[in-house]
Symmetry: C3
Subunit: 158 residues, 3 copies
């Protein structure tokens, strides 16, 4: 029977998203069942930059939608971001060794059939609409996630 | 036999404390045994704002007691705190969807019988006294925590 | 059979490195097999301050080598670092209760036979050379780490 890995992605940092997606892709390539559960800042990675809307949102949800990063490549580094300079440097260093970008790892994860889910409470609080997220994202509760995670061989919180 | 979840709460951020307590409460409602082990900044969540004292503390422990947040509602956000403005915004967004507050989740966890423990070394280093923490908190060592966590079905570090 | 713990050390913060090494040392003393896998900022803990070099590095890797902390004692705090003042305060508070320093915990872990490994992709991206890291560090892939972690009793991401 296949091993099972669940990743709770809380953080919205570029470098932590990279770490999570590298683990997820690597595990999936080994035949492991991988589920990612995005909550809080993690949801920013699942927004489709083409599909953002301000319609029918509360004042705060509108403001929040505007001030937060639009899609994966706009996420900041958790350390040494230095107004984007540190991130630019990291991206150049990744190119130097021909490492795939965050967007590449995200595409890879989607193509490989890694399951993407989003925390219902976080989606509600942030005022996101289902249509603003990548189309395959399932919106589930913390209990749905836990049910799955408690049966997994490995669970990480990033 | 009941499943078992242990959460090592290292962080002292408002949003991460929310995530931890939402997971803890959700799991407990599902019949899972939940133990939370608070260390380092996480201890700031366990301080009872009514019971803080400066008596019999070293100079550094006194300073530390004064400059750190007094109780759960004073914790900052891990991201976009913007001197409290970002947190205020998050709190308003939570009210908009009638989500419980951090204090509500903490009360819920205490009522449901989630086990609260604190790391002895952290308590000693930060110069906290047992009386400054919520009364049910057990002060235990990292080894006590590990003994329990190694037998659990799921362990997370937040 | 011995229990098994794996720690993925992503963070390069002084306080988080302390937490990771306290857990690792405590577990090892209990007879648990402990493997630490250092990635991204975590690698900064494994650099030998005596052995840093700029030879044969790309421009970005050189810059990166210069602006990042040189060895464990230079790592910043994740919170309240305040240009090093907060860290100095924490270090004094640790001395007050005679707690070992980060360097002590690192030495302890090495002496006890805790396995140190480093993420190959991170090492390549950051442009580190094997000779710049502590001599016993094994450079392995994310899949090597996962193979091991999926069989462990407990896995944490710090």
């Amino acid at each position: 029977m296949a091993k099972k890995l669940t990743i709770l992605m809380f953080s919205g940092d570029y470098d932590k998203a990279l770490a999570a997606l590298i683990l997820a892709n690597s595990a999936k390539e080994m035949g492991v069942d991988v589920t990612m559960f995005y909550a809080f800042w993690g949801l920013l990675l699942l927004r489709d930059p083409e599909k953002m809307t301000l319609d029918e949102k509360s004042v705060y949800a509108k403001m929040f939608g505007i001030v937060t990063p639009n899609g994966p490549e706009e996420l900041p580094l958790s350390k040494m971001n230095m107004a984007g300079l540190g991130k630019k440097m990291l991206q150049e260093m990744m190119k130097d060794v021909e490492a795939p970008s965050l967007t590449d790892f995200l595409k890879g994860a989607r193509k490989k059939g890694i399951i993407f889910s989003a925390c219902k409470l976080s989606v509600d609080v942030m005022g996101f609409k289902k249509e603003e997220l990548l189309p395959e994202v399932q919106i589930i509760t913390a209990q749905d996630y836990l049910q799955n995670a408690l049966e997994a061989d490995m669970q990480i919180f990033i």
